[in-house]
Symmetry: D3
Subunit: 161 residues, 6 copies
Amino acid sequence: MKRAIYPGSFDPITVGHIDIIQRVAGLFDELIVLVANSTSKKYLFSIDERKQLITDSLIDPKIKVESYEGLLADYARDHNAHIIVRGIRAVSDFEYEMTMANMNKKLNENLETVTVFADPNLNYISSSIIKEIAKLGGDLTTLTPPNVHEALVKKFNKGNN
Amino acid sequence: MKRAIYPGSFDPITVGHIDIIQRVAGLFDELIVLVANSTSKKYLFSIDERKQLITDSLIDPKIKVESYEGLLADYARDHNAHIIVRGIRAVSDFEYEMTMANMNKKLNENLETVTVFADPNLNYISSSIIKEIAKLGGDLTTLTPPNVHEALVKKFNKGNN
Amino acid sequence: MKRAIYPGSFDPITVGHIDIIQRVAGLFDELIVLVANSTSKKYLFSIDERKQLITDSLIDPKIKVESYEGLLADYARDHNAHIIVRGIRAVSDFEYEMTMANMNKKLNENLETVTVFADPNLNYISSSIIKEIAKLGGDLTTLTPPNVHEALVKKFNKGNN
Amino acid sequence: MKRAIYPGSFDPITVGHIDIIQRVAGLFDELIVLVANSTSKKYLFSIDERKQLITDSLIDPKIKVESYEGLLADYARDHNAHIIVRGIRAVSDFEYEMTMANMNKKLNENLETVTVFADPNLNYISSSIIKEIAKLGGDLTTLTPPNVHEALVKKFNKGNN
Amino acid sequence: MKRAIYPGSFDPITVGHIDIIQRVAGLFDELIVLVANSTSKKYLFSIDERKQLITDSLIDPKIKVESYEGLLADYARDHNAHIIVRGIRAVSDFEYEMTMANMNKKLNENLETVTVFADPNLNYISSSIIKEIAKLGGDLTTLTPPNVHEALVKKFNKGNN
Amino acid sequence: MKRAIYPGSFDPITVGHIDIIQRVAGLFDELIVLVANSTSKKYLFSIDERKQLITDSLIDPKIKVESYEGLLADYARDHNAHIIVRGIRAVSDFEYEMTMANMNKKLNENLETVTVFADPNLNYISSSIIKEIAKLGGDLTTLTPPNVHEALVKKFNKGNN
């Protein structure tokens, strides 16, 4: 069985992430959307919130949502997954992903990273820009799934009171 | 009337910024140098200091110096400006500006971003490198306007006492 | 009066070119779409065909379609135009345009080059890829204006007979 | 069944191509190494020679070697393949592949392009550099498979007599 | 005498740094590995630890290990060194190094920066990725010199208790 | 003795080349400006003309001007030179040079490539753009050494008669 991992912070999931998940899900028998939880990063949403926002945005039974705290290369070995999937939007993404792919292969020689190009229409969308717009009160209705929109509004209103 | 906005942090204004302002001012009827004041960023100079340093460096009556705290796309709509101007020094700038231009058009469909290339002679000058050199006591006489030089010396001497 | 030049080979004009012309026309009092005719390049369409395809694709009276054979910097000086407009799709475009902008300013110090980013939806469209698809019999109905489509079909059918 | 296409000129196949084929073959049920034969390109090796050099370098029964002359997007549709695989070595490759992937999706909406990063050890190897070295009499023993080495020596010796 | 400086944070030294030092040492009469100690950066290892880890990794008497806190351009002037050496792994490194080289020449006109390309095999190795892997308990035996490996294990075990 | 090679087509030598030669000559005991003469390239100037234009532009006795037709890696081995010097102007140069440096090291393990950044003021100058301007009758007085200027005028006038 071909099991692939789509790792990320997903803080929060964007329409760019969803587009990539939907495009690559068909290529594999199982796709794990794997939410990173690093002790050295600050997230807007908790690990449970981030997982829930993903689960609510997807309905394909082939897609599982999991989280991890250690090395991705170890997680893949432990869960018998040999493929990492990543989306690339720009040259700066490309160099970062190439470095990570080479390092992950060094740490786990059975781990192959495949990349797909972000939809040009969604190329300028990232979790960080979405959070910045939400914080400044911008209109996100066409930029995020409704559940994420609602969560962002709640988060920033709460913060302001 | 063609009103354009040249947005930035200007912490502090550099000879690179001044060069771009002088080159593009003639292209439009009015140019607003718009100083960003984000609550999530730490600045060396206060918003009033940054505006004053710009005002003291420019003398063209067509150029106004303003500040804002919200979304640039909203500011442009509220002030009837349809053009954003940005300078580009390098490939990494280019990708960032493309992302921002696409997002700003998504948030305000009447907003066009035009870019000009930094003067090759000034290509290596940025606010952050100027601050770093000032902090380490380097000679800035040929790298900043005199008023900015003086402000930097004052700021870092004060910090050291 | 602010007169700008949008130079290129336009062999043939694409929807990417048309998008940029429509976006920048409003920024200037007059826009000259300037068709290069270099003796060292081989074109699919003659200079008259290329000009006609542009004229048929645009209807704004502010836009003029002209051609030239010499140095762009000289043409601009002779026609009292101080602005060159170029669209940028990718990092490789960016570096080429920066080089040309710097050289053009060296040859004509009153000449400023401003660039706009290609629409992400049209980012992958270029004259050369359109010609390649036409040659291989691909479907161009959504990729080119109808008059260009017709001209390409005629050109390649003629070539095959 | 998941059928993927690995297209290219393969003039001639390199150890970089072979590495990518071996790494991705396991991801799909069938992999077609598809040799482009464009009437507008000049090749060192004929289409039959190029196919033979590939066939002799690979032994996996899941891998087929085919050729085509038309549009890749049409070939994929006609052969019920929904995946294109490409290797990327550098930023310049990246931008070209992104353009082609977007265009191929426009021409065939069921066609997904996935990319893998070239092995850093093989990053500087390309068909064109191999041919240049062969032409200048350089030592290729560690840079190409033995059959390709032999074919190159034969080709350039013949040319010199 | 040709004295060159190889500056960096070396927090900690990696096999990538060691490879560059060994390759360039032969080009000059003396090479100073110069460890930056900036008050505005947080390091994992103290300045003395970083110097010791370098000294323990190298044995060539032509190589000296020093530290500094001010401007690199001033250090070079004070120590009669006219050459800075830097390794480049990627496009993003390249633009940063070009900016720094131009600025350093502006601050000290006798200072030339020369760069060498990182070994492709070590291209994905950086101090920061090594620290991240160490922190997450990954296997570093083939990624760092033994003394650095030991120091990292000690540092993170200490941190966890 | 440290002997370095600065290879190129030099068709013709530019002020960019001369700047790099003058900056790096001091780093080595001997610098060979090595003019490539490839049978598969078309040059404007013959190999003798190109060598003469270089010789007339330089006066440092440490600098020799030579030509070669084979592999650079072999030339270096035969002439006991272990260093190749190259100037880099842009990201696209960077990737090409990295590929060539890695390949040259593969072909000759004792051959190290060091690069310097082009002077930002000369960044947009290349042999090909100089030839294009000369061909179109542009003013080259500030863009090339006088002897090259004269040679270009002679070449293109001859061609036009």
